[in-house]
């Protein structure tokens, strides 16, 4: 039934300049599921995530998120998703709270000072609320980016390598947030190398290789070999 499916990608192919990064990949994620999308560097996992996020238009293929077409109804999709990308996407010359305030206004929401403060507290940046982001470490930036997501409660959470170079407390924050989303009926897709960290939050692993999605594995059926393979990948 359409309602039960959050993400439905069929035959997604994407070409960058002369190289096909995705070669006809399929992906299906049900509502309420948390899935790890895993693969080597250059396998196409980030590209697939960006296609789902409507940031990239596929060269071929059809995609639907919550039943909305990723090309024609992208705006409807964007209202419901939250993305934590490789780059934090923050403005260096604005303070932490100003970045969040800007985010609220861009999302068409009213500025809510207490909500901003609460979120800053949740991600452990209360002390830095009036500091300019320029001085932030990578970890702090990611926390702030996470905070930006917390303001909006997305139905679909897309995370791109969220654990890379992140301290344990921060990783914990991410997984907690991801779990909360699925508990509330939302859906999560995590692109990662790091199954050891992702397993806290996901119930299924989808492997992507060479632009194609391979057979997925779920929960208990993930063998130690798969685990080792995933974790052993060079970042």
């Amino acid at each position: 039934m359409a309602d039960a499916v959050a993400v439905e990608m069929n035959g997604i192919a994407k070409k960058f300049a002369r190289r096909w990064v995705l070669r006809g990949a399929d992906l299906q994620v049900k509502r309420g599921e948390a899935v790890a999308l895993m693969g080597k560097n250059g396998s196409g996992k980030t590209t697939m995530l960006r296609v789902v996020a409507t940031l990239l238009r596929p060269t071929r293929g059809i995609g639907r998120v919550f039943g909305y077409d990723i090309i024609k109804e992208a705006a409807d999709i964007r209202e419901r998703i939250g993305v934590l990308g490789h780059h934090a996407g923050l403005y260096d010359d604005l303070t932490a709270s100003e970045n969040l305030r800007f985010s609220l206004r861009m999302a068409g929401l009213a500025h809510n000072a207490s909500a901003v403060d609460k979120v800053l507290d949740e991600v452990g940046l209360t002390a830095e609320r009036n500091e300019r982001v320029r001085g932030f470490s990578a970890g702090m930036r990611r926390r702030l980016a996470l905070g930006r997501l917390l303001l909006r409660r997305p139905e679909l959470l897309l995370l791109d390598e969220p654990y890379a170079a992140f301290d344990p407390a921060g990783i914990d924050l991410i997984n907690t947030f991801a779990r909360k989303i699925t508990e509330d009926g939302g859906t999560v897709i995590v692109v990662t190398h790091d199954y050891a960290r992702a397993r806290e939050a996901v119930s299924r692993v989808v492997r992507i290789e060479n632009g194609l999605v391979l057979e997925g594995l779920s929960g208990a059926s993930i063998s130690p070999d798969d685990h080792a393979l995933a974790v052993g990948e060079e970042q």
Partner: protein, 240 residues
């Protein structure tokens, strides 16, 4: 990247195009001979006047090409078919060449007539601006590697450029009316007109041929690339 010699069925050099090309060449030459032979030397310019039979048609088809560019850019934004972008690019290339030719011919005509290689005549100036607008279009294309982005960006730039052509034309014309008017080529007596029109028509045929031919070259290039890559789009993933 090696060019595949096995062409995919969707792109072959159409036989009719070669025939069309020959017909175009014959028409072009005939039109020129007719015009040159049947027109008497101009009272003021002498035989120099005959450059009009390539200059005016060149300018006319350059203009026409840019209308084609506009049409295909709009079509691309509407339908998102790569072939529309290829047509627009072909027309822009051909149009740019003929614009440059028209300027060069105008300059060549101008030297003996006005004693200078360049004059800030309204037509010449507007044409030079047009040339730069389309040179910008082509430069942007050459800097953009991704096909889809290139097509989208070209379409936007092409449309804005085309919108500007009449504006440039009128503003430069008004600008030049403030200053001295040079004797310009548009004062043509009717006895030359027939040669003009005939050559305008043969040039139109020429440009249609060139645009279509260039388009088919693009198609072949693309087919060659895609053929090699089709093989890479192998087994579809297993649905879980």
């Amino acid at each position: 990247m090696s060019f595949s010699t096995t062409r995919s069925p969707s792109a072959t050099w159409p036989k009719w195009l070669t025939t069309f090309g020959w017909i175009t060449a014959i028409l072009l030459v005939s039109g020129q001979i007719y015009a040159i032979v049947t027109s008497p030397p101009d009272a003021a310019m002498g035989d120099l006047q005959k450059i009009m039979y390539i200059h005016v048609p060149s300018a006319w088809v350059a203009m026409m090409s840019f209308i084609v560019v506009l049409a295909y850019c709009l079509l691309y934004l509407w339908k998102h078919q790569p072939k529309h972008d290829l047509m627009a690019a072909s027309a822009a290339e051909v149009g740019t060449v003929f614009t440059a030719l028209a300027i060069a011919q105008g300059s060549i005509w101008g030297r003996p007539t006005w004693g200078v290689w360049w004059t800030w005549d309204a037509r010449l100036t507007s044409t030079a601006v047009m040339l730069l607008i389309y040179a910008g279009y082509l430069t942007l294309r050459s800097f953009t590697d991704d096909e889809e982005r290139r097509a989208r960006w070209s379409a936007a730039v092409g449309i804005l450029g085309a919108i500007n052509v009449p504006i440039v034309w009128y503003s430069v014309k008004w600008w030049r009316t403030i200053h001295q008017l040079q004797s310009d080529m548009s004062s043509i007596s009717p006895e030359y007109r027939r040669g003009w029109i005939i050559n305008a028509l043969t040039f139109t045929v020429l440009v249609v041929y060139l645009i279509v031919a260039r388009y088919h070259v693009s198609l072949l290039q693309r087919a060659g690339e895609q053929h090699a890559e089709e093989q890479a789009l192998a087994v579809r993933s297993v649905h879980v």
